[in-house]
Amino acid sequence: LIANRGEIAARVIRTCKRLGIETVLAASEVDLDSLPARLADRALCIGPGRASDSYLRVDTIVQAALGVEADAIHPGYGFLSERTALARLCEEEGVIFVGPTAAQIDAVGDKLRARAEAEAAGVPIAPGGPVETVGEALALGREIGPPLLIKAVGGGGGRGMKRVDRLEDLTEAMNLAAGEADAAFGDSRVYLERFVARGRHVEVQILGDGRGGVIHLGERDCSVQRRYQKLIEETPAPALSRDFRARIHAAAVRFAAQLFYRSAGTVEFLVDLERDAFYFLEMNARIQVEHPITEAVTGMDLVAEQIAIGDGRGLRWKQEEIKTEGCAIECRINAEDPVRDFCPSPGRVRTAVWPSGEGVRVDTHVFSGARIPPFYDSLMAKIIVHASDRPATLEGMRQALASTHIEGVSTNLRFHAEVLADPEFRRGGVDTGFLPRFFERRLEEARAHG
């Protein structure tokens, strides 16, 4: 049973088909006509469009799985993929949850616990720690020194996160962050970390067998972000030394092994360019949106590995058997309007022509005539290009974007083309401040052209 929608549901179904596994899609009413609903052997209507009445209902999802006698539930990403409640109910009902154990989701969901686990595994963490009172925060803040970052224990995505440049602002920022965190995650606890001025977001894909065996499949650079939303990802991460890469891979493996992690997961790091160091950020206990670039360079099917692990077959590859080849980039094509501050643009897609050709992969649920409902995220497709080296991959992506045609909804296609053409991006190894700078430059150019 696939408890998700959109491109990831279609992608999971494709692997299942290849493996001869029967698929049932748990779909909301507005998705009964979607591509994954057409691809699945059967689609079950689990509720109305609003996610809180359908895709986020743990009981309904498990009831659906039991009702059709499904052996396993694949949660995809988002929705219930990292909710302990679904993993736990699956464990109680004897349905395989294609993912980590409920206890592991709990361990990485609590950012402070994850930090403690990282420390125990000898994985570098940014200087900082939990702060319960303003007094504690001030003491720790003085010790680390500004700039500081206040983060929510209960979650991520930028909510409950505040940057503090001067210690005198700490009290106010901490109260704000705690309030935001409480509203977003029902948990007002916050912690303090050193703010890294020039950092890159580098993450390592791992696979764990749940018995302490862990392998890594290399890293991905996801530094091109807008408000903590990744837009372009690539592998290998540009401009990292062989030694640095080896250290970050080893750290990710140590962290996952410490948890006896089961299934596919990603360990995220912040690479501090000024100190030539990296710090543990968090672990994502699910398949990630950007997993196809790892598949492109390794030739592996991560969903197939997730299923094999879920089926108790453990790791089918040894670390030394994992070879990466070339470079891969992914652009997330969203139904949103970059001109109007990336406002979502749902509606009916009149025409959808996706690129094809050697080294080009498109993971999508959008076809000509498809509807993009307003209830969910705006991801239409992921265009993945794989070539021998970075310049060839960039050129391949340029062509792939140029041969994509979408009518009926606004997309960020042109925005992607502009980023790819940007000299700073072309040089490689941009930090997370790149996109804000890019927007600033564009604004200035627009002003200059008056």
Partner: protein
């Protein structure tokens, strides 16, 4: 029928008994027209007469026609129901949810079989509404 339909057809509960033979001329007031099936068309047994009101499942779950195994069903074909009449139960992970008829009239067809999985919006039964 057009488009792609992937929802499996649910067999009717029991062979449609000829008990409720429509004698009167079917009502034709627009209000009593069967609600159009929402976004995606489902393959369901066509109504035996026009003007019937469909009682759809409010949840995905296991449908039970009786309060407990061995007890008589809440309703049978021919039963008179009103808006608040319980016509069945939907179980979602051991939580029992009553399904109300939502309409006053006579049960003409029962489509969902006892103890089977029904989807959200699936037609459980059809009622000939009273004017």
């Amino acid at each position: 029928m057009d488009g792609v339909k992937l929802n499996l057809q649910r067999r009717p509960a029991a062979p449609t008994e000829p008990a409720a033979v429509p004698v009167s001329t079917p009502e034709t007031s627009p209000a009593s027209q069967a609600r159009p099936v929402e976004s995606a068309p489902r393959k369901i047994q066509p109504p035996s007469e026009p003007g019937l009101t469909e009682v759809a499942s409010p949840l995905l779950g296991i449908f039970y026609r009786a309060p407990k195994p061995g007890e008589p069903p809440f309703v049978e074909v021919g039963s008179q129901v009103s808006e608040h009449t319980v016509v069945g139960i939907i179980e979602v992970m051991k939580l029992m949810n009553s399904v109300h008829a939502g309409v006053k009239g006579q049960v003409v067809e029962i489509l969902a079989a006892n103890g089977t999985l029904v989807e959200y919006g699936e037609v459980l039964l059809r009622v000939r509404p009273e004017a």
